[in-house]
Structures are given as C-alpha cells and as structure tokens.
C-alpha cells in the first residue's frame, strides 16, 4: 500500500474580507499552502445569514490547510487572539496524507 503520513486538517471559518489576514499568519509560520472555499449561507448566534448580498462584507469563507501537528499548534496559538474580535471558528482534525512528506 502507498505510504501515508499523519497530518492535521485545519479548517478556519472566517469573514471573507479577513481571509488575507489568516493567510498572512499561515505564511509567517511557514505552512505550505491553503485553499479557500466559499460558504453559500449559514447561521449562528446572530440568527440566519445569507450570502446573496452585494456587500462583500457579510460573505464568509472556509480556509482549509493541511499541516504538520507542530505547525498546526503554532498556527492555533498565533490565531487565538483574533478568535473573539474576528469571530473565527477553528477546527483541527486528523488525516492521513498520501505521500505527504512535503506538508
């Protein structure tokens, strides 16, 4: 069977205008890459929210990053102070990455 390595799958739910700030932090701690997925709609403590708006300020995205456990930890530490003020939601899960030594 093909070789796999254990890595962290980090998912950050964030307002779209703040995505560059998240990426800047990821770059600082040298995470190798990221992917952004658009959220179509959602809801939380504020009640229902919809994306069908021309004002981009209300748009939300998921930033997805695969990283080593160590980098995932540094990332969480760096980003934690923004959690409240920026309304982030950060989850970290375990995944096997196929031939993933470069991450």
């Amino acid at each position: 069977m093909v070789a796999t390595v254990q890595r962290k799958r980090i998912e950050i739910l964030v307002d779209t205008p703040l995505v560059p700030r998240i990426i800047a932090i990821a770059k600082k701690i040298d995470i190798s890459g990221w992917s952004v997925i658009k959220i179509a709609s959602g809801g939380g403590r504020d009640g229902r929210w919809d994306h069908d708006e021309i004002t981009g300020a209300a748009a939300k995205s998921i930033v997805l990053m695969i990283a080593s456990e160590e980098k995932a930890g540094s990332f969480a530490d760096e980003v934690a102070p923004l959690l409240e003020s920026h309304g982030l939601l950060i989850t970290i899960g375990n995944v096997e990455v196929v031939r993933g030594d470069r991450f």
């Binding site: 021309i54 102070p81 923004l82 003020s85």
Partner: protein, 330 residues
Amino acid sequence: MIIETLTSPVILFFILGFFAACIRSDLTIPEPFAKAMSIYLMAAIGLKGGVEVASTGFSSELLSAAVAGIALGFTLPILAFFLLRSLGKLDAIDAGAVAAHYGSVSVVTFVTAIELLTGQGMRPDGFMVGVMALMETPAIITGLLLARAYAKKTELPSGASDNRDGGSSLIHEVLTNGSVILLLGAFAIGMVAGEARFEPIKPLFAIGFNGVLCLFLLDMGLIAARRLLQTKKITVPLASLAVLLPIINGSIGTLVGTLIGLDPGSAAILGVLSASASYIAVPAAMRLALPQADPGIYLSMSLGITFPFNIIFGISLFAALANFLAKFIG
C-alpha cells in the same frame, strides 16, 4: 415630485423587491449577476460623466465641487459619531464604524438620483461622478480616527490585527478600492475618448442603463428588506438616527452645494451624496480595520433603513430643498 418618484419603474422595482422579501418570497438575484450590474452601472456613469466633461471642458465649479465633496467626506462623520454615541448609545468602536458609512456615499443612490432628477429637468453636471468617487473614502479615515481616539484600550484590536502592516494595508485598500478605480477610470476613459469615440459603445452604456437600474434596484429591495427582517441589533434610537442622519447630512450637502454656486440639480446631488451611506466599500474596510465593530449594526442601518429612505423620500426632499435654496440664495 414624490408621486412622480413613486410611479417611476425604477422605484417600483425597488418596492417590488422590498415587498417580495417582506412576504418571505424565495426570489433572489444571483450574486454574480448583481455584481455584474453594479460594475456595468459604475462604468456607464463614469463614462457618461467623462464624455460630458470632455465636451463642456473643465469649469471652476468642478474644482470647488471636488473640494467641497472631500471636505464633506472628512467632516460629516464627526457629527454622526457624537449623535451615535449620545442618542444611539453605541460604544466608540461601533459609532466610528457607523459614522464612516454615513460620511461615505452609495453609488446606487447617486445613480437613481441622477435618473430621477434628469427625468424632472434638473440634470446634474457630468463632473459630479468624479466628486462621488472622491467622496467614497475620506470618511473611512475620520471614522477610524474617532474610534481609536475614544475607544478604551481593551476594546481595540490587539496582537496580530493592528500590527505594522495593518495600517498601511488599510490605506492601500482605501486608495485602490475597486469601485473608486472603476469610477475614476471610466471617467478618464470618457474624457480621453470624447463624444465621437464614445459613439460605438454608447448603445450598451446609454440605452441599457435605465433597465439595468430597475433590475439592480429589485435586488436592492430584496437585500434591504431581508437585512431589516433578520436584524436583532437595531434599537429605536438607532432606527431614528438612520433617518435623521441622512436628513441632516443631506441638508448640509445641499446647502454647501448651493453656496459654492452649483446649479440646483448638482446641489441636490451633493445633498444626496452627503445623505447616502456606503454599503459596499466601507463595510469591507471596516471588517478589516475595526473587526470588533458589529456588521449587524452598520449594515442594517445603512442598507436596511437609510438606503430605502433616500431612494423613496430623500432624493425628492433634497431636490425640493435645492430648488428652494436656489431661489432664496440665488
């Protein structure tokens, strides 16, 4: 004039959208289509303004209107800020963010006003498009300065968010804002091309304009009403301020326009610009610069209340005021 306004298809489409959202219809305009329409409207209004300036030439009014516009952009948020803190009971961060919105402008309100005024023989000068573009961003700076000056240390962004590049990236964002570039760029293209070279592209930008505006206002009606229905953040004082601020700012703007010698149509437009509140450029900048400010407050006020108020009442109001002042002062 208010009846003429209320039977204009442009306004009727806005009302249709507002009504559809109120009865919770599932009608929606796809977001990329709405963005496409807003790009089209900005390119068209910029081009038409530029072509007009190319044929009438620069005038001294252009310069004084530009200076007045920038000055209004910088100063209008100050009064708004203190009203929002005292009457509206907002903290400094939220008050600064909301004030920035009211100092800036709404492109669609401007465009709708141009259409309504032109339909009533009060066609504003072409250069007012340029003035609008100049008024988009100064208020962001004032709003931020006010928030920073009055906020308690603990409320302000900490750590990563206000580091060195935070400030410079905001200034960059403000100066290179997409809608400012598009408006000023299309304006410049219109000036360079002039009437003759504008001819081949005129059909799309001139003939389709009113119809696109109808569909765009349909979407704005949906968005405004949905904002209002969803929000839980708007108190009675805040709702009142969302009507009071455009009246105050719009009257100041119309008066300033008349005093610097603009014709009634252009003075009314300066009033409309002052009265209108941003809901595209400023929210994005605030999310970046003041992430602690609550978008539920500033979007609900500017999009849910002030925008409909200006579209349906404000424009007629400042037109009447401009005509009155023109007789009184002129």
